[in-house]
Subunit: 468 residues, 2 copies
């Protein structure tokens, strides 16, 4: 392998082939620090041609490649296994914004651009790039596309897939596919773009993308509504979609227990209501017209919802600071849950109409099996996506509870499957859920996935052990 | 083959295996009546299991299958070649709406449902299914998805691809893939859905789909604006997107010559302006709030556009009848062009920002090569999609001109390619453009397309001779 590494050094420069343990450490452990793999080397090309050259060397020497962006994934998709045979290909040096076109409303970014850098480049051009998620200061757009990242604006703008018009990809054979088209319509053959999006680097390496931009809204308004049940939250969702159309850009559900945890661990954060309610929805409107119009729309919605007894109370943020405070409640839920101790997380989706039944039925099943466990249920209700997390019973041993993780996953995922849902709504499969998915997909579907992998990566060099 | 046909009869019933020339005729000629193929039989299954059974027979006897919906395609994608070896599989008996879910905002339709039937089922449930195109009274949703149909509402709602959440597909091996998921988020493996969408029946047969529904708008307003140039039309587009956001649902460009042709052949149709202008844009707003609000938005937009000298005049439809009259101008362009005589059509897209340059440069090249030819340029400007059609010079022989079709296509398509565009924006490749596309796609891309075809349809039985 010395020959291989020497050739890698010739291709990208000595200082961009890391082989010392201390240099590689940051690339080998996953974001949640649950797993550390081994690698032959970490290779850091600076442009597409260098990526292609390295992949060709990997073909020649049969070395597996683990593509990596910000390494913020949650399913062990961007770290190598512990065989030590693979290289990690870090894309972070491919970090140029290649073009911004405000008439076509597109931005062309290299894979290693940080999401925040893309958001800022769009804003500098007076446009919005709407993808937004917790890791936006560290994750890369290549990773977002490879995992088809979701986030908080999917309700209005779609997942990463819907925000991408074209790709540049280095194939498993080390060829460059220039599919960087900035077209809204192109029906000239198979949809290669959407095959690479969400493939988690197992079919090729995304090196650049043409992304969609949108006008900046004139006003953004946030409100918190309180209601009795997830069903009432769904009624509010239907009403809001009818009244506000595409102006509705956020619709996040949070149970009372979620906000109790936030209040317990972050006592400076306050709910804007004098009493507690079973459920809350954080609503966001983005208006292209004016702040005044956004206010009128939101007031009318809340009045209607109160009259129809869908909601019990509501508070509209009167300033950007208040709006941030409402969003902070939502964003502090995972932090508060972590403060509370170890817990078991799920990233699931079901058809929106079945969310109420799913929560009720699954809660019962978990209580039957794991009496006293505490549900931390919140998520992107407008997308049918719940972070359906389970904390141990109070005064119990967290480690004893966590030992039941597989059994708890089984209850939750079996329930998701019965409701026609997905066991990975926005995080992907990676190595973590690769075996689990085989339980839920048919042999027909798994067979087609394997056939596609075999067709595009016959040597199984691209991120092996992930997805399929 | 008698044995094969007997088994087909057993599978679907004697009266649904057509072998007489008179019975088959309607299935063998394409929509524009340019080509008539031959078939061993036309087979008309009534459900997914029958489709699968027939495909398994086709595997056993190595009989190619040409899937067909409403047979309204424009690129010879749904008719057989003239070998007489294939069967046509007509999906029109799979015509049930299986489910409508107004909370999840989804509708599950079988492939043979007519688009209009889907639109009506959505409307009956108080929802909008926004796909709309000229053939909507005859085309099927299976065909729409297989060709990723576009139409007039792409600007707001996307192509057919963006309107579909899940599919049921009979694979090339005659297995049923149940991917009928009604989920907004599902990141559990390769995007098989989008691979079958737009594959024109060459990878498998779509038998049902879960489609997205939207709230019905409260008001729709139409206006016609007149301007000097395509560039001014683009300035208006940017302004309209900024001011109206997702309320803007239609933005159609028409040149003066297009409307001259309409006036000549349909003299009862009138332009709402006292004088002529070089270009016109048909604008449509769909408002979730009220007619009053839509009017105010549109008036403000027009006032701004006049002040900024983007447009020279504008007329807002004051009634549904007036709105229909404005849309009729647009819809009569292809009819007027047909009345004028034979012509050469192109369905192209370029990045929106390059449309002005594309039209100017390509017009010059065509005049250089084919002096006096008359450009009938119109289309979905908001999507960068032009129907860039060429009529013969006045007083010339249409047939002599049409003889130059290949040379004219070459000029137009080469120009499209130079501008980073697509030679088939919304119609697909079929058999018509299958060779032409090889000129414009790289060997890397064509190689991946062939590998996918080989992976999913190794016997080359699914709609052979189309796409790849």
């Amino acid at each position: 392998m010395n020959e291989f590494l020497d050739k890698c050094r010739s291709a990208v420069g000595d200082s961009y082939v890391l082989t010392e343990d201390t240099d590689m450490a940051g690339y080998l452990t996953d974001w949640r620090r649950r797993f550390t793999g081994k690698a032959l080397a970490v290779v850091k090309p600076r442009n597409t041609e260098q990526v292609a050259a390295i992949v060709r060397l990997c073909n020649e020497y049969r070395v597996p490649v683990v593509p990596q962006g910000g390494n913020t994934g949650l399913v062990l998709g961007s770290v190598p296994d512990n065989s030590g045979k693979a290289i990690v290909m870090s894309l972070t040096r491919l970090n140029r914004i290649r073009a911004v076109d405000t008439v076509n409303n597109t931005l062309t970014a290299e894979a290693g651009c940080i999401l925040e850098q893309v958001q800022n480049a769009a804003a500098d051009a007076g446009r919005l790039f709407p993808l937004s998620l917790a890791a936006e200061g560290s994750c890369t757009i290549g990773g977002n596309l490879s995992s088809n990242a979701g986030g908080t604006a999917v309700l209005r703008y779609g997942n990463s897939r819907e925000l991408c018009l074209g790709l540049e990809v280095v194939t498993a054979q080390g060829q460059v596919w220039d599919g960087l088209r900035g077209l809204r319509k192109d029906n000239t053959g198979y949809d290669l773009r959407d095959l690479f999006i969400g493939a988690e680097g197992t079919l090729g390496i995304i090196t650049a993308a043409v992304l969609k931009l949108f006008p900046q809204p004139q006003a953004q308004l946030t409100a918190l509504a309180a209601m009795r049940s997830p069903e009432d939250a769904l009624r509010l969702l239907s009403l809001a979609q009818e009244k506000c159309g595409a102006t509705l850009t956020g619709f996040e559900l949070m149970s009372d227990f979620c906000l109790q945890l936030v209040a317990k661990h972050f006592p400076q954060m306050r709910l804007p209501f004098p009493q507690r309610y079973p459920q809350y929805v954080l609503l966001e409107l983005s208006d292209n017209e004016s702040e005044e119009h956004a206010n009128a729309t939101l007031e009318a919605l809340i009045t209607d919802a109160l009259e129809q007894d869908m909601i019990q109370d509501a508070a509209v943020a009167a300033s950007i600071a208040q709006s941030k405070a409402l969003w902070a409640l939502r964003e502090h839920i995972p932090l508060a849950q972590a403060e509370e101790g170890k817990n078991i997380k799920h990233d699931v989706s079901v058809p929106i109409s079945r969310i109420g039944d799913f929560i009720r039925e699954t809660d019962i099943l978990l209580q039957q099996g794991f009496s006293g466990c505490r549900m931390v249920t919140f998520g992107h209700l407008g997308d049918g996506n719940l972070h359906y997390n389970v904390s141990p019973p109070e005064q119990s041993s967290p480690d004893a509870f966590i030992a039941h993780q597989e059994a708890i996953n089984r209850v939750v995922h079996d329930s998701v499957h019965r409701f026609g849902g997905s066991i990975s709504a926005e995080h992907g499969l990676g190595a973590l859920k690769r075996n689990e998915i085989r339980r839920y997909k048919t042999e027909v579907e798994l067979g087609m996935m394997r056939a596609l992998k075999q067709a595009l990566d016959p040597l199984d060099l691209m991120n092996p052990g992930k997805v399929v």
